[in-house]
Symmetry: C2
Subunit: 352 residues, 2 copies
Amino acid sequence: MADITDVARAAGVSTATVSRALAGRPHVSAATRERILRLAAELGYVPSSSASGLRSGHTRAVAVVVPRIDGWFYSSVVEGADAELRRAGYDLVLFSLGGRDGERERLFHESILGKRGDGVLALCIDFSRGERAQLAELRLPTMIVGGPVRGVRYVGIDENEAAAIATEHLLELGHTDILFIEGGAEIGQRLNPRVSKERRQGYENAMRAAGRPEEAIRSIQGEFSAAVARARMHELLEAGSVPTGIVAASDEMAVGAILALRARGLRVPEDVSVVGVDGHPVAELFSLTTVAQDPFTQGRTAARMLLDDIGARSSRRSVRVPVEFVPRTSTAPPRDSRSSATEDRSSSSMTA
Amino acid sequence: MADITDVARAAGVSTATVSRALAGRPHVSAATRERILRLAAELGYVPSSSASGLRSGHTRAVAVVVPRIDGWFYSSVVEGADAELRRAGYDLVLFSLGGRDGERERLFHESILGKRGDGVLALCIDFSRGERAQLAELRLPTMIVGGPVRGVRYVGIDENEAAAIATEHLLELGHTDILFIEGGAEIGQRLNPRVSKERRQGYENAMRAAGRPEEAIRSIQGEFSAAVARARMHELLEAGSVPTGIVAASDEMAVGAILALRARGLRVPEDVSVVGVDGHPVAELFSLTTVAQDPFTQGRTAARMLLDDIGARSSRRSVRVPVEFVPRTSTAPPRDSRSSATEDRSSSSMTA
DNA sequence: TTGAAAGCGATACCAA
DNA sequence: TTGGTATCGCTTTCAA
């Protein structure tokens, strides 16, 4: 309710001085500043973000764009970003696409983002060429978390490496017949396809590096969903094809696979080993071995870089954050450890 | 980049007319309006929220306060609220307390919320008397989701009923020795304690209504966490106390209990039946019978009511949304269906 | 139906 | 170090 004029009057100074004092800028004597600070607090004065935004041209807010907010990865990144932004006195304006593709068009086309924030933090969004141009034209500092986009700085893990670590783990245990459950092909939303592509690549690279023949490289599509992975796994098992090891591109899909295996009477890890990627909380509940990433820190880091950009045009580069291998009990050496490279496909045949 | 003056010039009218036309207000001829709309789109004009906010006094944004954003319930409610707000052309400013209690003080004390939004949507927050006074003084329309607060309208399920339904389900199956795993006592954050209290009450009411003696009413503290529930359940089993049925105040705690039971070699539902409350995605993965709520719709409804309030001071009342009983395979009649009311405590003794 | 002009509350420049 | 004042872009009132 109180505005800057009230504070100025109470302190016996001009609004200009109050503004300087509150913004922590120089050219205010210590005594004056202290008095102003005290009075402002007493009066419960909070600057109008509209007024200051209008005059100064910046909103002290950041627009965060997410495909959806109700997902472990997205919400954890946002939580991390929020922590960092809040510390810097910035607000977070959330834009959830929520499966509504029109929303996305509007967001970019009408350059709404720039009106609400001094920067944009986008999660797993695959910017089109036009969208990138828009952002560049608006001179809006931009950061991406989850999947690199040409020309935009980002924070993320080495997706390729993560999947490779998971695959190598099974290879080292002695598995040779390793199935990959891939993500991607999600509903409508134009998510960044590089995440699923690179994870698949990591699996393939590891298999080839281990000398596995091309025909040993096989996968099913789990669409980053436990339910879909479960269904596809069911079909595969129905067809009589039982790998000794499974690498899922996400923990949720790994859980879907475990459920399908259990339903067929197969035990994990005795009959089949399963390893995931992500470090999703559900992994612990299923005692799933996984390659964990830390989305909270990614959000935090991205927000920090964005703030640097907004402030001083720092030219830091994209950041790759490390992953951590988390061994649990869903993986073990294959039952028939003698299985050679030439008979892997048939070595694990069984009846459910 | 284009501002209202550009549009006005292009259309050959005054900025006043442009403003009226774009806001969809009367006193603009159809032809003029159409021309303005077309030109505004062509120029990619988006009104400055700062300027319009400053002049009109409202921000066309809503402040959403959450204890954390990285949790199923919170993020789902926010997703629902976002969908509704977006439809109405409102932005969502997210304030996550993120376990930082100082954050909360600041938020309310400095009446920051009112500066950023035309209304406040708070999740599971237990407003203090002072905080309520603050909001009332600011004349900020407020809605709560998750736990009623005296004097503030809210959207939520009947927590009591939800737990009662879960309990009655076990009672109807013939269980008599039913343990309750309660939530509450969470870390620092002053979450609304009524959710856990009322769920506990629902359990107790159902037990009493079924004629169970007071000593049959027993519970352990799971703090709304799978890990804690699991640990407490372990201790209980260690002590040799094995109920035939368990009602958990949340699905996550129910899963924790299932894990502890499994670790002791107890089967669900053959040895022990477990039922949860929430309808959390993890429930399906564990085939957990539960009483489901729909947080997305709650968020949507709350946002709708808040918008009504902001617009026209509608005096709608708080809303109770229904829950849905979702039977799965974690519950079954007790093994020893003959167990009478007098020997329930010992009827299910066993060795793991 | 339309336009002219006065502000909304802060900031930033320039002068003192 | 301080104060006066123009100004940010829009909405709104009042007059035409």
